[in-house]
Subunit: 377 residues, 2 copies
């Protein structure tokens, strides 16, 4: 469910060429490295499991497990160092529709991604997967020592409504914004209550979620051209040009919400609330911006890359996670080939705009990094 | 990995028509019902888990979980009845290539199979999947209360060689048969040693595996026309007719072994052996034959079904699990469409043979039903 897969994709690219290409993966690796430190702190803080129990960890919204593989490997190494005789169990969770075959092949070293294959490096490490959304309790009570999640929980459990004047809640207003805000608050509450049940006393959560920072920045909106406004601009123009219907314009609404640090922290700080009552306590919360690796590669090329080359390299990474929103917004009565052509046209407009004037186009990452503890009540 | 999926397929067929169609699912349901009783005995025998631990069960080689769904639901009901306050965790295992999305959708009631949806029926039941072959240890030490497996462990971990004079080990001879026999013995030893580690003391295994019974009967060979000999006959004839090469004839070898009750029991009874030393004890072993539901439907139609209609209904069920062996035996240099045509021709020959003289054609199931306990040493 993670919607930025730069590492798993980019890693193989980097192996081919190095240098120029590795610029593109630096951003995603920076995000992950920040969480690595928090995970090591969490490993140092969790209590030793009961005699005979393994240390149980989980990656919520793991997709194919590629993006978190190095982090999970380092976490396992730290757990093994602290508790040398403990077995370790890892649960990867995602939606039912996720490709778990790729996940298991990746863990077994049956894919191209041969780095950090912890199953062959360490004895006594076991993996499994749970294909149910993380808004529900997925693991038995008090069975989890350490829960991790990267770039997954900005997805709401269900869209409360379509967004009438924009494609993303960052541009929503009035009752629509209220509806998304309520849904996101309820979802976050449910996510935390589910984790509170799963965690054993003293257990930890380390989450790095897309969010809005203190300066109002969020993914693709860090001072330059606003990425979601650009999506909206071109989708709206396709409606104005008669290429798509007004209903199809309306249907394109990302099922996402970018919470602020305060929204992430609120249920953990509200001493009268359910989440606090369930024993979860905020250890730390901070926001962080990581530079768009595609933008960085363009700037660092010192004019070797043309504007068009930048646009051609940049827009596909946006398309990889946003395409489904626009493709499914189109009327099902249109032939599939026509729908595909319209989606192509949409991203071609975006690419042309970037190629014409690349200034300010960047998909910088804005995350909220949170550490949470389950108290030993 | 189960190679007979009559229930999951047949169930939806039965819902459409009843009567005539439900004949077809009776066989597979009989096999499962026999194991249900053994599972209920196992539930009655396992010790209560430690305070706070769930009861952990596993289905090894579960495919999409459809075939065992009713049995697992009944097992959960029995566990809940015996330990009312215990949560229950179920691990479904299969190869990495298995379709886990269908498994999770099936468990969540998102498919057509709406019966026995135990996740909505019972609180405190959790599922996960492990996409690693059951010849390895898949779960932490002493974490499993009850392991189940249906029609999966006849697959060997790897073919030791091709079978030169037949397509299946039931027709193999000499050094080839010896190689398959050794591989199957090693595999069974590894399967049991892995389960011995996973089981906690007092835990149970209930396996129903394809095998050879005391009268030498096995799947599709119960007195009438031998199904595997018929596969070999037509595959060989395609070579004789110059449609496939000698190498392609040779390449078709099922990666399977049908063990006898004695072969299943041997490592459990050998008091000097590793498996016995690891604490596994044989509770019971018996063989059982369940009638081919397609054959039964034909006979019970009292002449309403023609021989051709029987052949058309019968051969696809054989094809569903055997096709991959013949398709992958063909040379990769042939265009895909040509390979598909050759496989079609092969099953057409089988169908024509059955249509010409249906006498004795039946895929009766022959299973060995085994119950095993891990001693509290």
């Amino acid at each position: 469910m993670s919607d930025v897969h730069v590492t798993s994709t980019g890693a193989s690219v980097a192996m081919k060429g190095g240098g120029y290409y590795s610029e593109r993966t630096r951003g995603a690796k920076d995000v992950i490295d920040k969480a690595s430190g928090m995970l090591l702190e969490a490993v140092a803080a969790i209590p030793e499991p009961r005699d005979g129990d393994p240390v149980r960890i989980a990656d919520f919204g793991a997709a194919d497990g590629g993006t978190s593989k190095e982090t999970i490997r380092n976490t396992i190494a730290a757990i093994r160092s602290r508790f040398p005789d403990r077995q370790i169990s890892i649960t990867y969770t995602d939606l039912p529709s996720n490709d778990y075959s790729v996940l298991f092949k990746n863990m077994l070293g049956l894919t191209d991604d041969l780095e950090n294959n912890y199953l062959s490096e360490f004895d006594g490490v076991f993996v499994n997967a749970c294909g149910i959304g993380f808004h529900s309790q997925l693991l038995p009570d008090a069975s989890l020592d350490l829960g991790f999640s990267a770039t997954a929980m900005h997805y709401v459990s269900e869209k409360p409504c379509e967004i009438e004047n924009h494609v993303h809640m960052v541009g929503a207003k009035g009752v629509t914004l209220d509806a998304f805000t309520r849904r996101a608050a309820d979802d976050w509450n449910n996510i935390l209550l589910a984790r509170a049940k799963e965690l054993r006393p003293g257990g930890r959560l380390v989450f790095m979620n897309f969010g809005k920072d203190e300066e109002g920045r969020y993914l693709g909106n860090t001072g330059g051209v606003n990425m979601f406004d650009t999506f909206d601009l071109h989708w709206r123009a396709m409606a104005a040009d008669g290429l798509i219907s007004d209903q199809e314009y309306l249907n394109a609404s990302f099922p996402q919400f970018y919470r602020t640090k305060e929204e992430f922290s609120a249920p953990l700080l509200d001493q009268a609330g359910e989440v606090h009552g369930a024993g979860l306590r905020l250890i730390s919360a901070r926001t962080g911006v990581v530079e768009c690796p595609y933008r960085a590669a363009f700037l660092n090329s010192n004019g070797v890359m043309s504007s068009r080359e930048f646009a051609v390299s940049y827009v596909p990474t946006l398309r990889s996670w946003s395409e489904t929103v626009f493709a499914t917004a189109l009327d099902k009565s249109r032939p599939a080939a026509e729908r595909a052509r319209l989606v192509d046209q949409f991203y071609q407009r975006y690419e042309n705009m970037v190629a014409k004037d690349p200034d300010g186009h960047a998909m910088d990452y804005v995350h909220c990094y949170i550490a949470i503890e389950k108290t030993s009540r």
